[in-house]
């Protein structure tokens, strides 16, 4: 039987050939857009970007998307990206999305769309465009929720999504449902588990549901999202890990207020993670982690935006100080791997219509959101407090 991944590749190839053919490119119903960005960053005393803590140019994000309106109710959309974020996630070219968007039902004030293929994660505030520099509030997103090591399977799925959107007397609302999985590359397995993992990590399924509501004539927006996802690890012959499973269940609530010259966003996450075996036979771990960020932006002039954000994350809500980690690891993992709290100050300057420059500094307490995620690197990350800065130039069309 043909794997889903192979199927996606074949469809991508056919789509590319289809778009390249001159008969289609002459049609006005084909649209294309893209973005190019390059940055420089440094995360001293940590392996966030590189192991040395030196200045790094591994902050490249490039993408090209194409869409084709097949009929008034059917659309094909695709995007390929090249990403290099150093240690944050595996470097390389990715098929970001490729899906059929089918408008199943359309009434005067509401509609239903079905997406089939590889689609983005529409459920959190920034999840659908986390790699698109000019759509982000900052270069590095709050790691409590947008943990870079989890990026590849938090950015979308191969499967089906149902999007319902409407406007009623009380306001406008959105209901999103999705079910699918994400192929996990070897490099990502190492980002998550470390170099000692020789086996294969697979996402069994990812099931998400979200609801957004904006009251009529209000500048507030409220949202809630639920995530349930299962993973399986299959060990190789030479492997420090063993066969095992992990399950994660998340509840996310968010709020956004958009005023004319400022906005405010907050997103809170409560997560339950279960590990079975994987580290060694009989290993059982159940953790309840929590995170929240508060972000304010001031649109100082039409071209200048200033940002301040506080992001808090505790890996175990029953041991926020992280002492449980030291106990469990016989003192090998310091307590500050149990949390990650970040203060961010940033600015975005619009240089021209499609050009922006973004710059930011972060002061971080704790190393709980560095990779590898499961067995942390305690040698490089030997400092509880560390700093990071980044500058990125971005162009889009």
């Amino acid at each position: 039987m043909m794997s889903k991944r192979k199927g996606i590749r074949i469809v991508a190839g056919l789509w590319l050939g289809f778009v390249m053919s001159s008969s289609v490119s002459a049609e006005s119903d084909v649209a294309w857009h893209g973005f190019v960005s390059q940055g420089v960053m440094q995360a001293s005393k940590s392996n966030f970007v590189n192991d040395s803590g030196d200045v790094s140019f591994k902050l490249t994000e490039v993408g090209l998307n194409l869409s084709y309106q097949i009929s008034p109710t059917l659309r094909l959309a695709s995007q390929a990206v090249y990403l290099n974020g150093g240690n944050r996630y595996p470097e390389g070219v990715r098929l970001d999305y490729l899906f059929l968007d089918w408008n199943l039902y359309s009434a005067e004030n509401w509609q239903v769309n079905l997406n089939v293929g590889r689609f983005k994660n529409y459920h959190w505030l920034y999840s659908s465009t986390r790699d698109i520099p000019h759509t982000r509030p900052s270069i590095i997103l709050p790691q409590s929720l947008y943990y870079d090591a989890f990026r590849d399977f938090a950015k979308g799925n191969d499967g089906a999504a149902l999007l319902v959107q409407g406007d009623g007397t009380l306001g406008s609302w959105e209901l999103n449902w999705s079910y699918g999985d994400t192929p996990i590359e070897r490099a990502l397995t190492k980002t998550l588990l470390g170099d000692a993992a020789g086996g294969r990590l697979e996402q069994i399924f990812d099931h998400q549901l979200s609801f957004y509501f904006q009251p009529r004539d209000s500048f507030s927006q409220f949202g809630v999202a639920f995530v349930n996802s299962d993973f399986e690890y299959l060990k190789s012959e030479q492997d420090a890990f063993v066969d095992g499973r992990a399950n994660t269940r998340r509840i996310i609530v968010n709020y956004k207020y958009s005023a004319e010259f400022w906005d405010f966003s907050t997103e809170a996450i409560h997560e339950n993670v279960n590990y079975q075996n994987m580290l060694f036979p009989g290993y059982q771990q159940e953790l309840y982690s929590q995170g929240v960020y508060f972000q304010g932006r001031w649109f100082a002039t039409s071209n200048l935006t200033l940002l301040a954000r506080l992001d808090l994350f505790d890996m175990n809500k029953n041991g926020r100080g992280g002492e449980w980690l030291e106990l469990q690891s016989n003192g090998q993992i310091p307590h500050y791997f149990g949390y990650s709290d970040t203060l961010t100050l940033g600015t975005t300057y619009r240089l021209a219509d499609n050009w922006s420059l973004q710059a930011e500094v972060h002061r971080i307490k704790g190393t709980g959101r560095l990779s590898p995620a499961v067995l942390p690197d305690t040698e490089i990350n030997d400092s509880e407090y560390w700093n990071m800065w980044a500058v990125q130039l971005m162009y889009w069309f």
């Binding site: 649209a31 857009h33 973005f35 993408g63 998307n65 869409s67 309106q69 008034p72 109710t73 959309a77 695709s78 995007q79 999305y97 899906f99 968007d101 408008n103 359309s106 005067e108 004030n109 509609q111 689609f119 983005k120 529409y122 659908s128 465009t129 698109i132 000019h134 759509t135 999007l163 959107q165 406007d167 009623g168 007397t169 406008s172 009529r216 004539d217 958009s258 004319e260 649109f299 039409s302 889009w396």
Partner: protein, 129 residues
């Protein structure tokens, strides 16, 4: 202060009025079809244009930056196309007249007689519910 915006559509759309909610659904690229099945083509003036800013705030009840962000989100996550930007009101009038399914806006003072566009009446929210 910018003059009020007059919503105009191509004559082929065969409609004469919209509710404010429908107008917002169209300019936020959610409603993509006219009742007669024709694909909607949305045209807008540049972000900095005074009429665009006035239209966005008074007719859609959104700040222009919110629209811009929403369109970017739709375009780069594959959910929809963004509106097509025109230079000025003269070009707006021309493209809306020439493009089947087109919708756009001009100043109320602009003369539209005999060019093939329909001026839409926009009903207050709740009128149609």
């Amino acid at each position: 202060m910018a003059s009020d915006a007059q919503i105009i559509v191509n004559a082929d759309t065969q409609i004469e009025s919209l509710s404010q909610a429908q107008l917002r659904r169209i300019f936020t690229m959610r409603q993509r079809q006219w009742p007669n099945g024709l694909l909607i083509k949305v045209f807008v003036l540049p972000n900095q244009n005074a009429l665009h800013q006035h239209f966005s705030k008074s007719q859609l009840n959104m700040f222009p930056y919110q629209l811009e962000r929403l369109w970017n989100k739709l375009v780069y996550s594959g959910l929809s196309e963004r509106p097509i930007e025109v230079y000025d009101e003269q070009q707006m009038l021309q493209v809306v007249a020439q493009t089947p399914g087109a919708i756009g806006y001009i100043s109320v003072a602009e003369n539209t007689s005999g060019v093939g566009v329909i001026k839409l009446a926009i009903s207050e929210e709740g009128d149609d519910e």
